[in-house]
Assembly symmetry: C5
Homo-oligomer: 294 residues x 5
């Protein structure tokens, strides 16, 4: 059984194969569209599948961070031919194709499709773990120091999870299609395996949902920490104000050019007035605490 | 097969055609209603469809911005006639009709309906891209400078997305109707094409959902940035208060008309007291930082 | 065919009719309950329907505002009789009954029920438009001046929309019942008309959902505007504090009864010190802006 | 037909009846569990039902308030026997059993079950009305005076609504079970009555949903009122600060021990400087208002 | 019937059993995966089940607190063999296996599976009660003293509830599978028991939902309490500012080196000015309260 691997959907070789194997023009159009989405479409003569393996690439803005990136792979799997179109520089696709070549055999194109799908799904797990680590890290940091950088990270991960979730939901639907479609290329022997892959995707989606919940928690923690800190800062301001007011008021009084102020002419004036100031400050602080205002 | 194109649903020609082809009065009423909504309704003799192509028109308030606007097109497609009613000034409708005229043929009214629908759906993509650009732009701005104008833009886009989503949901239901209805005008050959269009609409709706999520993120960023800034401003106020208090208190003390203040009569009084003030300010700042209040 | 119109469900005439036409006691109980809800219930011998037409009545608290009010109408429609019970002072019910009398005929009680339902549904549109106007109005106001009155209006409309939505959902279910029930009084000819009414209700519910979204937007705008304003006021306070501090500190210093202060005995002391104060104020403002604290 | 009424599920008489009528051990276990939940379970020989009537008991913390409390009633209804287990001190259960004894008859255990369920459902309405009154009351208070007590009441009612909703949802499912189950004890004649009760429960649940919406509104009003008040208090602080600053600055200047201040030696110095102070305060307030900062 | 109990899925004995009883490689892989999830998978020859009993272990960070921990148990139940794989140190698993050994019998592997599942489900109730206690405790504390520690506890419980909910949902699906699957190992006699267990899980999930609602309430209370306190602190600051301003302004005025101030040379100057100060302070406070600013 021939297996054609093309590196680029715009390769004219694809048009030739399309004529030879009678590929549907809508499928060619999909394969060549820059924003194709994950899907499986089965006709009587062949199955057309698009998957989006994930790989972690260093973030250009922060080289110590990794960004999940999706590189599409297109598969045309007929009874007696297999065409795969994928960027050969993507490590996830490379691994999927290698495993299919090693463990599959020519007589079962359905098995090859399963092996590729299964490898792709297995490679989502490290991406999910990567998110887990980053969210744990954010949760640890957010209580100690709710900085705007954490906020930016929360929203960046939210955005990436939105993308990942979309790919996973479509992959789940595609794997369901491989189980249910009467024209499916997967034979009865391999149906339990595809079902198992489906369960894995369901578990991945479960994890993504949990991570969204955790991120929302982290955001709530951030916001309540900021509210808390504003409250703390206000209290400091109030305590400082309270400490300052008697001193300012009393020193203002004795700074007046008036006659008849007590202790004005006493040689221990400074001591008397100083004591009075300290006493009234303590009294005021005590009063505020008593009234539960501080 | 005759194809009647009317520019205005109130054209009396439509009543004539209604009599000739036995059009249902409820359909006429729909076509003439100012706020008709997207739908497909199939009877045994013909299919009535309303679509709402989108076009980007410059915003009268901000000429550099574009607003998505919807102009309805009504289609009555029988086995042996086609009536289209559309505003000829709308570029999207014009393009849809031109493509139908160029690529369709008279024998297949179903194909004509498909071509019009497909063009209309394809033209939603630039509108979605336009929103993508605007949201990206807002996200970039909101971290640097959370101004009320950004807030206004967020809510304006939210409002437009609500409208767009409504049109897309109805278009999706309409295209499903074209696939499922036993009276549908779409023949078996063209069913895969309509299914493909359905997939495109589903992807568009997916994008709209993602954009709503992203807008909510942007709003959260805005609100948390404002909370952050209030917090920052409070801290500045507290630092300023802290710096000022010892100076005010000490200068207040030495401004009192009392006897017995230390250094009062020393020729280096100013230096002593100045030093004391600076020292106590530093001490207070250090204390606040130590207590993690700042 | 006799048509009995009663103004009050407690009219003893109703008991008489109940005996004559064998009306179910639960239906009588419903008709007489003060808080009956919209429903359709079909038995083999007749159909019992409750609808709630809306009319806009002036708000007693704000005579320029209109409040949607619901007045129930009960219908018992058998093959050969029609009983309607409604408050004759309600303009919506009056209009519905007049149209049924004008356009209906005695042979088709199903047509009469349809005509009443259709008129009632049509009269929801002005109520929805009324809400649209009020929400637009609130949106315009909330950006310029987020006052507590706007907040009160938002919550008042929210409350009214909750009521309206409940009535519409029940009316939609009732109209579905008229289409699906095997005992339905609506004959095949009139089914497309009831389906059309169902579509209208679906569109009304769509509008209510949109209005709820828009109201939530308005509430978010309100809250973020208030947060913004607090932030602005804080900044003003900080600017004022910043302007005041050098003046207070320096005048405090020169108010001390100490010896050795610079310029103390210079004849141009006031000018020197004034200049120094202004300079340090400008410097402090410049510093704060440089550190992006203001 | 014997009707056994037990006051306590732990009565040994129940074990005797269980042997006699062959009751399932799981049902006995349920009846004796302290936190049994509402349900209906039909076997071929009898129907086991648990309902939870509500009664309003004075709140021990606030005797003028009433708290809804649920007291379970267990029913074993066979073709030729009825066992009810209920706390005789609960007024709602007492009323339900009295009505069943008065209006039911021995030949129809299904009718007895219906009568008990219907009375229990009718008695939920006053509880709902009670919540309506309390929420209206809170709404009136929250605009005038958003105190923490109102917050506590909002959350207390939320908690009670969560409980009530859970009981109602289970009761709705139980009444659906009485309609649908092939082993149901309700005969065809009484099915419309059970359906009517089902409608009542649906309406009750509707009301609970509405009340949750209204409570969330009230909470939003509370929070926005607090935000508003903080904003107001900030403004007062700013106005006070603005009024004080010129007075403080100018009096500070003239308190300096410097030579060369204008009006220093003029006999009308106080008047000149006083006038200057008032003028600059007015100017500052005018400037702030002009810049829309206040 | 042999019952093999393995303490570790990596025991080579398992491979031997797999060969003997023809276990599916995917099931072995699941049993050995470190993050297997709850499931039931029935083949024609045996049923594979994974459950996750909960046990409360002391929190290493706070020894007085207990953390729910999940220890998986794997079950292979054929017609004539039972293999269980579980960590023998987990008390919940131990209890489940003991009860199965005591109450089950060798002829019914389905009964053994039921007994294990039922014990596991019963042991979730104390965990739920534990959460109930902690949430009640938090609710009591949050009104009196909304500290960041409470916030941390709220989010910690939220996180644990997310985990617990996931396990419960999967267990519910697994128990449904045991009822519905045509290959199920549960015979007709034990179906009511599994259904009863299913009801228990549904009630547990209900409780988890309620607890999530209550936690969200507690979070709302926390946030509104913090907002309230900020508001209170602001008011204290404003009252202090109000009290201080007249004293500062008047003492500033009389501190000026000017001529012509009233009472400047009066022997009762201090008394006059002091009285004036107190009077204007009272007047200002009265004015603010009159204007409802405080």
């Amino acid at each position: 059984m021939p297996w054609y691997q093309l590196d680029d959907p715009n390769d004219p070789k694809l048009d030739e194969l399309a004529r030879q194997y009678n590929l549907h023009p809508l499928h060619l159009e999909d394969a060549r569209s820059p924003d194709e989405s994950v899907k499986v479409d089965s006709s009587t003569s062949y199955t057309f599948a698009v998957f989006k393996p994930v790989s972690l690439k260093p973030d250009p803005d922060a080289p110590s961070e990794f960004l999940p990136t999706f590189t599409p792979i297109d598969i045309f799997a007929g009874k007696d031919f297999l065409i795969t179109i994928s960027d050969p520089t993507c490590p996830a696709t490379r691994e999927a194709l290698q495993r299919a070549r090693r463990d599959g055999d020519d007589e079962h194109p359905g098995r090859l499709v399963y092996l590729i799908l299964d490898t792709i799904v297995d490679l989502y797990f490290p991406a999910i773990d990567h998110f887990d680590d980053r969210i744990d890290d954010l949760e640890d940091k957010v209580f100690d120091n709710p900085s705007p950088e954490i906020l930016q990270s929360i929203f960046a991960i939210k955005r990436e999870l939105i993308d990942l979730r979309r790919v996973l939901v479509n992959t789940r639907d595609a794997s369901l299609h491989l189980q249910r479609d009467p024209n499916t290329i997967i034979d009865a022997d391999h149906q339990p395996y595809v079902r198992d892959t489906y369960d894995h995707i369901a578990r991945l989606l479960d994890s993504v949902e949990t991570q969204r919940d955790l991120l929302n928690n982290t955001l709530d923690i951030y916001l309540s920490s900021v509210a808390n800190r504003t409250n703390e800062v206000m209290k400091v301001l109030t305590v400082l104000g309270t400490i300052a007011i008697p001193a300012l008021a009393i020193s203002g009084i004795y700074g007046m050019n008036l006659k008849g102020l007590p202790f004005q002419d006493s040689p221990y004036g400074a001591e008397w007035v100083g004591g009075m100031t300290i006493l009234s400050t303590i009294l005021l602080l005590y009063l505020l605490r008593k009234l539960k205002w501080l």
